[in-house]
Amino acid sequence: MAVTTTIELRPQPPPIQSGAGSGVTIRRRWRRAWRKETFAQSLTALIGGLMVALVVSASIFAEAISPHDPLAQEITQRLRPPFWMEGGTGANLLGTDSLGRDILSRMIFGSRISLIVGFSAVIVAGTIGVTLGMLAAYFKGAVDLILSRIADIQQAIPFLILIIAVVAVVGASLLNLILVLGVGSWLFYYRVVRGETLSVREEPYVEAARIVGCTTPRILFRYILPNVSASIIVIGTLFVPQVILFEAGLSFLGLGVQPPTPTWGGMIAEGRDYVASAWWLSVVPGFAIMLTVLGINLVGDWLREVLDPRQSKGR
């Protein structure tokens, strides 16, 4: 009998919109975001979206659109300048590197590593950081104390140094990069989600869920998670570009995905020795990084304005 009562009394979880977040306010924010005038206002977001779309489609259709094999060496064609310079040809639009490989093709294929590492590492960081952040804020006490102190300790070690040291020891592979960058940046998610959960856990519907005997995982993932999801998305879009920059930096230092696989950071590093004679080797791939990072940043800024309650004025 008691069991049936519990089921009858179980409060309805807050309404959820697919993957976007839940609750009336968040749904209203999304709807406002898609309304025509708001979107037109944020022309920059549209431009950013186009940049992201360009890079993402380049990475998906790399085989189809790249003019050459990114690994094919043609020593007789080495160090060709881009097409707008003297000696440049239409065959290698952005020139060739010191081994005669086509730079444009290598940039197109290089987008794959950047995007895969960027998004996967953020998913790893988010999974760890969000789970631990909710746990710390929900249970408070010893759990919170221990996790928060671990975060403090990690913050006292320069991120880049920590990542370099760990990658150097465990070895540079795609999987290791994703894991190290992901695990290394859990605390950025942790801090925000913990803070938000601290206030959400006091909401009446969470109390109600607790009273009727919902299990802790159910409370965390069904009632609290949807209500902190807006922040999770916002941090994600602001953090992917960071990770892409870190990955490029690691590749630049020779600690990224190893050659001959083309990476943007690696291409810039390879061109360093030719700065005086063939500057485009280093300079041109940098624009791919900036285009990607700028695009995601612009979309992220717009999302933050739309989703983050502290940023929007309408509240």
């Binding site: 300790i153 991120f159 020891v169 930096g249 230092l253 280093s282 900036m290």
Partner: protein, 305 residues
Amino acid sequence: MTAYILQRLLYNAFVLLGVSAVVFGLTFLTGDPASTLLPLNTPREDIDLFRHQMGYDRPMPVQYMDFLSKAVQGDFGMSLRHRQPALPIVLERLPATLRLALAGIFFSLIVSVPLGLLAGMNKGTWIDSVTRVVVLLGQVVPGFWLAIVLILVFGVNLRWLPVSGSEGWESLILPGFVVGTFSMASTARLLRSSLLEVLSKDYIRTAHAKGLRGRNVLLRHALKNAAIPVVTLMALQVGNLLGGAVIAEVVFAYPGMGRLAVQAITNRDVAVVQAFVALSGAMIVTTNLLLDIVYTWLDPRIRFA
């Protein structure tokens, strides 16, 4: 206030202890430090002997306590490559890195403070838009790429500035600027938003109402309060500054401890890496402690609490 500072002191000591555990753990990331440190084809017996000599076969807590007691005395073991104690090698490079970091802070402030102030005072005008663009650029330009472009422009083409080494103050300009860009954008943006928030406060309206001149209101009432979050950010960015210094030192072949650390990492010179990470951690913890103390001066509410 003494109680407050004492409490922060204890807390930061604890964080430092945690850092030491991480530094200690670096040796064991691969599982067996003995086989990592020795050349690949070392005979099995030699590995075992080395493991025993280095004490890697003792229980982990015993090793950690041993490591800790030595580390406190500044002993991180011998550098395998330099055949010298590790910490002095790192300390020797510290002044060069500090000079670079100071140059970085200088460039960061000289760009971000005027930009942030102007943008905050002129919200919605073209000045604000220019700041926005600069901030955005600062966020998206990879430091190592910027370094190469600077070398190309000022070193190779214009031949104005040296592009490597640390001879004289001129050699600090390019790497210092690169280090500065790591915090330029965020500082300018934070100063702008923090100034905007302060300017909307009641006490600013009061200051205007009682007839104070605009400049006085801005400098004495608004700026001091707007500076609090900026000071916090600057202190929190010491880690970024050190990370940025690593990149800049590598590209500009600047003889600082960041470049030393990267070399040590590629040479698997664990003792030097440990000394470097521990020293960086200590520097960050010290800055945080100083920050806590500066707070008491910036924000009287803490002083009298």
